[in-house]
C-alpha cells in the first residue's frame, strides 16, 4: 500500500515536471507572424540561412490564387521541391522574383534570413501548437 502511494506521488511529480517544462517551452516559443513559412530543405546543408516566406507580406500584394493556382505552389510547407536552379529558371518564387515584378535572386539574404537550424514549418499553425511545439 505504502509502495503504491509513493509510486503515484512520483508519477504526480513527473507530470508536474512535464507540465512545467511544457509551459516554459511554450512561453519561450517564437512569436513570428502567423503563417510565416520557414523552408529549410536544403539551406542548412548548403551553409545558407533557411528561407523565410512571409505570407502576410505577399497577401497584401497578391491573392492566394496567383501562387497556389497559377504558379503551382502546393498547400504544404516543404511540399514543393524548390531550389535555386528552378527559381533562376523562372519557376516557383522565380516567376516574380526576377528583377521585374519583385527583386531578383541576387538579394540572397532578403529571403535567406532565418535562424540557422530552424526546421521547415508553418509558424503559429494549429498543428505546430498542438503536435510539435517548435521554434526557439
Amino acid at each position: 500500500m505504502k509502495n503504491s502511494n509513493t509510486n503515484s506521488y512520483d508519477a504526480l511529480k513527473a507530470v508536474f515536471f512535464v507540465v512545467f517544462i511544457l509551459t516554459f517551452a511554450l512561453a519561450n516559443s517564437a512569436k513570428a507572424e502567423y503563417a510565416d513559412i520557414v523552408i529549410n530543405e536544403y539551406s542548412d546543408k548548403a551553409g545558407m540561412r533557411p528561407a523565410v516566406f512571409p505570407h502576410w507580406f505577399h497577401r497584401i500584394r497578391f491573392r492566394c490564387k496567383v501562387c497556389h493556382a497559377d504558379l503551382g505552389f502546393k498547400f504544404q510547407a516543404g511540399g514543393n521541391d524548390i531550389n535555386m536552379l528552378k527559381i533562376i529558371d523562372g519557376q516557383y518564387c522565380g516567376a516574380c522574383h526576377n528583377g521585374e515584378i519583385a527583386w531578383s535572386v541576387e538579394n540572397c539574404n532578403l529571403c535567406h534570413s532565418g535562424k540557422p537550424g530552424t526546421p521547415t514549418q508553418v509558424h503559429d499553425s494549429t498543428i505546430q501548437k498542438l503536435v510539435s511545439p517548435t521554434g526557439k
Binding site: 513570428a32 523565410v52 497577401r59 491573392r63 497556389h68 498547400f75 539574404n109 535567406h112 534570413s113 532565418g114
Partner: protein, 321 residues
C-alpha cells in the same frame, strides 16, 4: 533646572523634526535624480525643442511661478513638445513628481520644494489605489483627473480581461519586428531590409487572432489591393456568391460556408476536387480533421483565420423545433 530641561527638550524636538523633514524630503529628490537621468536628461540637458535646461534657474522659476500643480500636470499629461511622462508611460505618478522635485531642486528653485512635498504626498495617497490596480493589471497607473486618462484606464481594463492566461499574447506583443520574432536571424542584414508587419498593418482592419488583421474586411474596404493575376493589376476575380449551410451535431451553431469570400482570394481549382468534392453531402468534415490540417484546415489554422474563431464559421444559430 526645570527651564534647562525644557530647553533641552525643545532643541531635541526641533532636531528631530529637522531630521524627519530631511528623511521625508530626501528620498523624493534622490529617486527623482535617477528618474531624470534615465528619462528626462535626453531633452532637458541640451534643451531640445525648447525644453527647460536642467540648472537654468530663471527658466524653471518662471514655470514654477505658474504653480507646481500645473507643472506636474504638464509633466504627467504632456504639454507642447513635452510628451506625457517624458514618453515613458511605465513611470508612476510618484516617479514623475519626484523627477519634477529633483529638476526644481537642482535648478535652484527652492521656494516650491515644500509645496511639492505636500502635493506629492497627496497624490501618492490618492493614487495608492490606482498603483495597486496598476501592479495587478500590469499597465501604467494614471491618476490625473483628465478625461483622456480616464478613458485610457477603461480601455486598459477591457484589454486585460484575459491577462490571466499567460499563453495569450498582449497587444504590445503582436506583430513584432522580424529581428525579434524568433525565426529570423537578427545577425542577418536582410532581416531589417523589408517592411515590418506593424508598418504594413497600420491602416488595416484588426482582428484578435492570426496576423491580428481581418484580411477579408481589409480587402472589402479596399485597404489592400492584392492582384488576382501575376502581371495584370486590373484582372478581377470570378466571384461566386453561394452559401453552403452545413448542419452540425450538438448545440454548436450550423456552419455557413460562403463561396464569396473564398473566391475573392482563390481559384475553384484550389479546393475542388482535391480537397472538397463539389457535391453536397459528399464531404465528411470534422473538427478533428480540420485541427490536423485537412479539409478547411488546409488553410484555416495555417494562413487563413485560425480555428479559435469558432463563430466565424459556426455562424447560423439553430432554429428551435
Amino acid at each position: 533646572m526645570k527651564s534647562d530641561f525644557y530647553k533641552y527638550l525643545s532643541v531635541t524636538g526641533i532636531m528631530l523634526i529637522m531630521v524627519a523633514a530631511e528623511t521625508l524630503a530626501a528620498p523624493s529628490v534622490k529617486s527623482g535624480k535617477l528618474i531624470v537621468e534615465k528619462n528626462c536628461a535626453g531633452c532637458h540637458v541640451a534643451g531640445v525643442m525648447g525644453a527647460p535646461k536642467i540648472g537654468d534657474k530663471a527658466d524653471w522659476s518662471k514655470r514654477a511661478e505658474q504653480g507646481v500643480k500645473l507643472l506636474i500636470s504638464h509633466s504627467l499629461n504632456g504639454f507642447n513638445n513635452m510628451p506625457a511622462k517624458g514618453g515613458n508611460s511605465a513611470l508612476s505618478v510618484t516617479d514623475v513628481v519626484n523627477a519634477v522635485a529633483y529638476l526644481l531642486d537642482v535648478s535652484g528653485v527652492k521656494a516650491d520644494l515644500s509645496k511639492i512635498k505636500v502635493k506629492s504626498a497627496k497624490t501618492v495617497a490618492k493614487n495608492k489605489t490606482a498603483d495597486a490596480q496598476k501592479s495587478k493589471a500590469g499597465t501604467p497607473a494614471t491618476t490625473t483627473k483628465s478625461i483622456k486618462v480616464a478613458k485610457a484606464k477603461k480601455v486598459n481594463k477591457k484589454t486585460n480581461v484575459n491577462k490571466f492566461n499567460r499563453l495569450m499574447k498582449s497587444k504590445s506583443e503582436w506583430n513584432p519586428p522580424p529581428a525579434e520574432d524568433g525565426i529570423h536571424d537578427p545577425d542577418n542584414e536582410g532581416t531589417y531590409a523589408l517592411q515590418t508587419p506593424k508598418e504594413s498593418f497600420a491602416d488595416m482592419a484588426s482582428n484578435p487572432f492570426g496576423n491580428h488583421i481581418d484580411w477579408v474586411k481589409a480587402l472589402n474596404k479596399n485597404q489592400i489591393e492584392p492582384r488576382f493575376d501575376r502581371l495584370d493589376p486590373n484582372k478581377k476575380p470570378f466571384v461566386l456568391d453561394l452559401n453552403i449551410v452545413r448542419e452540425v451535431k450538438g448545440s454548436m451553431p450550423d456552419v455557413v460556408y460562403p463561396h464569396k469570400q473564398h473566391t475573392e482570394w482563390l481559384d475553384c481549382s484550389n479546393c475542388h476536387p482535391a480537397i472538397f468534392i463539389p457535391k453536397k453531402g459528399a464531404n465528411q468534415i470534422s473538427m478533428a480533421s480540420i485541427l490536423m490540417g485537412e479539409k478547411c484546415g488546409v488553410c484555416h489554422g495555417k494562413v487563413a483565420f485560425p480555428v479559435s474563431e469558432c463563430r466565424r464559421c459556426h455562424s447560423k444559430n439553430k432554429t428551435k423545433k
